[in-house]
């Protein structure tokens, strides 16, 4: 009799273990990979994919749906894509982003591209997030952006006809939390890779630069003229950013302390992350506060408009004269080169557009 009871208990334990940890009927999501451009494969380390959030087809599809879902905002008025519009290089054309009630925020919307290749773990203009998962928490809960709570979002998801199944298939969960929401969004955003510009093709021997673009590249790489490469990379860094923080001589004092807000270090006041120069054709206006409407204004700033402050980056040259005073030809050629870094296939890629 005792033996029978023990056998029953053992069977019951085995059965319950099986259902919790290795349910034979649990859905297994399909592993996915980033479509890494050839030029990235040749020049860069592999994309950063966290071990606890591997890419899956189901996770990416779910992230895409969330990205375009206005119900992630407090009043169902805006989605991630409201400030990261595909045709605007997954940025927007406002100087600063507009929140749920139309109130302007404080920063220009950062373009979303190649974030899986940020090896330094600093996202946003000020590096306030150290992972892409963490990054997605900020706009969703910020009072000047989507102004929502994850409690409300997960309630909405639970009540939705199809989200629960999608989350179950992507993450094997029946109760959705902030973790799965941000993981899904991060998976989708990691797939947003831009590496098919005219200049990429030039590097692969598939395109030729115009004389203006070639001279613009020379200006970009010349320490005595543009000297853009120290912060924005060069043909050997196809991200076109160093992903670190600089005070680029915009102001003599700072209403927005940028990186200094995060670290508290006065040496970091007025520092903002170098944005990538990819897709500038679509991402105007420019700078962390969107103060420059055109690339001409940007180039004029570096050429003649630099102003001194205590934390100005030492890479800024000839500050007393406002900059190095490029010739008008060099300015126009530099802009021609910069525009060659834009990638129309990226903003029109169906994988990134709403279904």
């Amino acid at each position: 009799m005792k033996k029978h009871i023990l056998l029953c208990i053992s069977l019951a334990l085995l059965t319950s273990c099986g259902s919790d940890e290795s349910d034979p009927v649990a859905y297994v999501p399909t592993p996915a990979q980033i479509d890494t451009p050839l030029i990235f494969q040749q020049l860069l380390p592999a994309a950063v994919i966290p071990e606890d959030n591997p890419l899956t087809e189901e996770g990416i599809a779910l992230g895409k749906r969330l990205f375009y879902d206005t119900r992630l905002s407090l009043d169902n008025s805006i989605s991630c894509a409201s400030c990261h519009k595909p045709q605007e290089g997954f940025s927007d054309n406002n100087a600063v982003s507009l929140g749920v009630d139309g109130t302007p925020g404080t920063r220009n919307s950062m373009p979303l591209a190649n974030l899986a290749f940020n090896y330094f773990g600093n996202f946003n203009w000020d590096g306030s997030a150290t992972t892409l998962e963490e990054q997605h928490e900020i706009p969703i809960t910020s009072s000047i952006e989507m102004h929502n709570t994850f409690a409300d979002i997960t309630t909405m998801i639970s009540a939705d006809a199809s989200y629960p199944l999608q989350f179950e298939q992507a993450f094997n969960v029946t109760t959705v939390t902030k973790t799965e929401v941000t993981k899904a969004l991060a998976q989708f955003v990691r797939t947003m890779v831009s590496g098919n510009s005219k200049f990429d093709k030039y590097l692969l021997g598939e395109a030729t630069l115009t004389p203006q673009e070639q001279n613009g590249l020379d200006v970009f790489l010349d320490e005595t003229r543009g000297d853009c490469f120290h912060c924005h990379g060069s043909p050997t860094n196809p991200l076109w950013t160093d992903n670190i923080f600089h005070n680029n001589g915009l102001d003599t004092s700072f209403e927005d302390r940028g990186r200094g807000n995060i670290t508290g270090d006065p040496n970091h006041f007025g520092q903002f992350k170098s944005p990538s120069l990819r897709n500038l054709a679509y991402t105007a206006p420019y700078m962390h506060d969107g103060r420059f409407a055109t690339l001409e204004e940007v180039v004029n700033h570096y050429s003649e408009g630099l102003v001194y402050s205590d934390t100005i980056d030492p890479l800024m040259k000839s500050i007393a004269q406002g900059g190095v005073h490029l010739t008008e030809n060099d300015k126009q050629d530099l802009i021609a080169f910069l525009l060659s870094l834009s990638d129309p296939t990226f903003i029109n890629n169906p994988a990134f557009l709403p279904n």
């Binding site: 380390p45 790489l221 040496n267």
Partner: protein
Amino acid sequence: MKKATVLALFLVSVLACNSNDDDASTPAIESDVTIKFTQSFDDQPVTASEFSNLDYTNENGEQLSISRLRYLMSDIVLTDVNGIDTVISEYQFVDVGESSGALLEAPIKFEEGDYTLSMRFGFSDADNIDAAYPDLNAATWGVPAPLGGGYHYMQMEGVYINSEDVNTNYQFHTIRAAENPGDDVILTDTSIAVNLGTVSVEGLATTIEVNMNIEEWYKNPNLWDLNDLYTMLMPDHEAQIMMNQNGQNVFTLGDITYISE
């Protein structure tokens, strides 16, 4: 026949094991080895926490700060008394501001004993291959093609007070010296062999400090005047040669510390 051979080999193995096991001598102690890169301005330590303060005065009398300091050491090798080299790392990228790269742990343990430690500031020409190192590409460490490509050796930047009492940015960047930038650029290898002498590896762990004395860049044999040479130094062939000359004694062996148990 085969069985006999196998048996013979087995017996030899057992005997060999026994012989080792019975050896009365103490097994060699093996030590973890870490190279610790530090920086100073003469006796003042330079770390990220001192960045941007005008704390330093060079040989020419210019007061200056340091707000970015990144450099690359390559061919980091320990050589034992028999002349056998063990490469600790092909290269190490040190970013003082980001507090990264300062500690280099050897991938293997070393037996206790004396070794000589050598390395190179920057890449030698043979290793200075354009676009060859993905991590350095991502760190925007490359040198533009018109200057010969390859990689920087060092980026040291900050502010100095110039002769007109104006705070002025400087960029002390060292690269392979380039003459006639462009398609017909002529290159001179200005990386620096750094031989640090004998180090003793002891105990369970040995940490060897290698210090960069920044002041040396400014004084020996060339007295460096930042008023003349403070910016746009990458395409300045003569400046790069002077940097190479001044860099010969920049790196020295610092403290060696041990953990014995």
